[in-house]
Amino acid sequence: MKLSEISELLHTSVLCNKDLLSTEVENGFASDLLSDVLTIPVHNTLLITGLSNIQVLRTAEILDIRAIILVRNKQASDEMIEMAQRCGIVLMTYSGSMFKACGILYSNGLKPVY
């Protein structure tokens, strides 16, 4: 699924790398626990999280995660946006819950990692 389609489905605010919205992601993973994110076999993955700190970006960088949606209307710091920009990660915010984001994306065809 294209990131632009994901953004439209959820009405997200795209905080950086809008030029990368044509990127395709194969699957999604939702967690507030980075320890869990670090154990999954991600590949072209969208991370959905309610955690908003610089380590979310670092973890995404390490795992080559293409895009992050911050749910529950969590806001990103300038440092996070700057790092996302630098790493080529599309960072978005979504006003709804993690459950709702997952439900909408799953029912529109985004696959789970497992």
Binding site: D32, T39, L51, I54, Q55, E61, D64, E79
Partner: protein, 137 residues
């Protein structure tokens, strides 16, 4: 190639600096992304452990054409029962560390899972030494 990184306890902003640098170097060397992923996840978990549990530490990286070996050595409280610390789900992490998204008791087992060779030694009251070695082809 030898690289050395300093890590401070509690400094979450810089946790991952070593793994990020190693990732860029291995990528430039043309190493298989699946191998890079295993190496950098292991180093990153070890860096987070230092930030989460120790006072300060060093990440010592040795990259050879066929192999990468990383030693993460810290000054800190050490680990009294390594077998227990290697158990998935066991953690002594603080509330602050958990708020950062870590401290689920997955770090050491995940390092072992991603390393070809993994060794850990610890002295209570002094610190912990973790060795990670991975083949690059």
């Amino acid at each position: 190639m030898h690289l050395e990184f300093n890590t401070e306890g509690g400094d979450f902003a810089n946790a991952g600096a070593a793994s990020s640098s190693v990732k860029n170097i291995l990528r430039k060397m043309g190493i298989d992304p699946a191998i890079i992923r295993r190496v950098v996840v292991a180093i990153y978990e070890a860096e987070v452990n230092v930030v989460a549990h120790a006072y300060r530490g060093k990440v010592l990286v040795d990259i050879q054409p066929e192999e990468i070996c990383v030693r993460v050595v810290d000054e800190g409280p050490g680990i009294a029962d390594i077998e227990l610390a290697m158990t998935e789900g066991y953690s002594t992490a603080s509330e602050k560390v958990r708020e950062m998204g870590f401290g689920a008791g997955m770090g050491l087992p995940n390092i072992k899972k991603n390393a070809d060779v993994f060794k850990i030694e610890s002295v209570v009251g002094q610190g912990t030494d973790v060795w990670i070695c991975n083949k690059l082809s």
